[in-house]
Symmetry: C2
Subunit: 277 residues, 2 copies
Amino acid sequence: MDGVSAASPAAGVGPFAAATAVAPDGPDRWSGEVAPGWDIVGNANGGYLLAMAGRAMVAATGRPGPVSVTAHYLAPARPGPVDVATTVVKRGRRFSTASATMAAGDRPVLAAIGTFGELASVGGGHHRVESAPPSLPGPDRCVPLEPGDVFPPPFMARVELRLHPDDAHFAEGRPSGEPRVRGWFRLRHGEPLDAVGLLLAADAFPPTAFNADLPVAWTPTVELTVHVRAAPAPGWLRCAFTTRFVTGGFLEEDGELWDGTGALVAQSRQLALVPRS
Amino acid sequence: MDGVSAASPAAGVGPFAAATAVAPDGPDRWSGEVAPGWDIVGNANGGYLLAMAGRAMVAATGRPGPVSVTAHYLAPARPGPVDVATTVVKRGRRFSTASATMAAGDRPVLAAIGTFGELASVGGGHHRVESAPPSLPGPDRCVPLEPGDVFPPPFMARVELRLHPDDAHFAEGRPSGEPRVRGWFRLRHGEPLDAVGLLLAADAFPPTAFNADLPVAWTPTVELTVHVRAAPAPGWLRCAFTTRFVTGGFLEEDGELWDGTGALVAQSRQLALVPRS
């Protein structure tokens, strides 16, 4: 049911699995390829890069489930080969923790740390939820982001987003005024999303700043942390990203990702720069 | 104004600065000492350990301000010597990023990653705040946590907490029912809190679980991320920690730390285990 494929892509795997696959390249080293089309204006999506680093850490630890993963983004990555160097810091009974550095040539693009385990093994016990999935019209009544030349970016040919109608009109000069983006997410071509894919989903939506009165063209991610609470059930994810604090040149974006069973599958927070424009 | 002291403690530094000081011990290596009294039932507080690792990363990068720091906790640490190995992954124009591993003997206790810069240099520009500091009675009308033998832990002789009266009676069998802890924080003995000290403050309060109907004696931290938005002004910090999701054997604790000028100085989130009890 998990479907994490850590090593090289097998015949028949989907585009996301293939585009994030890593192959062993010596002790604690993995090679991968930033595939075309997973970029925005030439720079690979941060969640996509983190998913690839996640595959390397899954392979290094031998644990399929990303419990908590953090990336710091160091430089943009363009399509082409990358290396991931991993260090397993601890192998525990339930969890293992690894760090990873992804480099394109000799330029580091991402540094990450993560704890991995068996997501299913931690279930049961106490349960309390103070919040609910975001209220969204059905996917057919939301606004699809179909790939264009610049916006929506060609990356939208890789992931399928349907935005809440209230949050979907920033590109036509009608931002909602609220720093929030809600919508549905799934991979294209019916490809199932595994737990590592949640790292992609956590960074796939347009910036919340686009719906606020912030005259910025982009908010570069400094840091992204994803806590995975459960492997996602097949189908659409229901997602919401909100910003509460734009201060000191930074903003945070808090994400919640829920699957079709109504389970919270991931929480995310990223710290992004707010260019002075 | 910053007051980060990265290297060995000078005469006259406060107890927190002394207890988190690290000294160079070879290339990319730092030695420190987990000081007595910063523990809870023998195990050093996680924020305290992260602050020490933060000092090592400040020294390694030469950048005083922790912009975003994440720790994964690997094993409890008891008072005694520790080593911190650092790797500077990138030295940038505005920011530098480092990883750190703290070990007691050959046992790793903490793995961290952080991006550091000059907090003041990123100010200005856009500003938008959707939330306000938590509403708290003044420190004199809140409930002091004074150190006891078990609870409040002796650690409360190192930090000074005053809890919101509504959140302060879990130890007498009267939890509020809400997974929330609000209160004031400062160091004892009038010691000023620098930006690295916010890493301590982000993990100094009793677990939110104590105010919920969760029959747990502790919620061990798996991961803690702190985003520092500004160096804190002198005086009390106004803090709030809340939990919204107890699922799959985990809970998150989201923290907001505000200084006396009404500025958000840090946001934190930790992922903690919920023992099955």
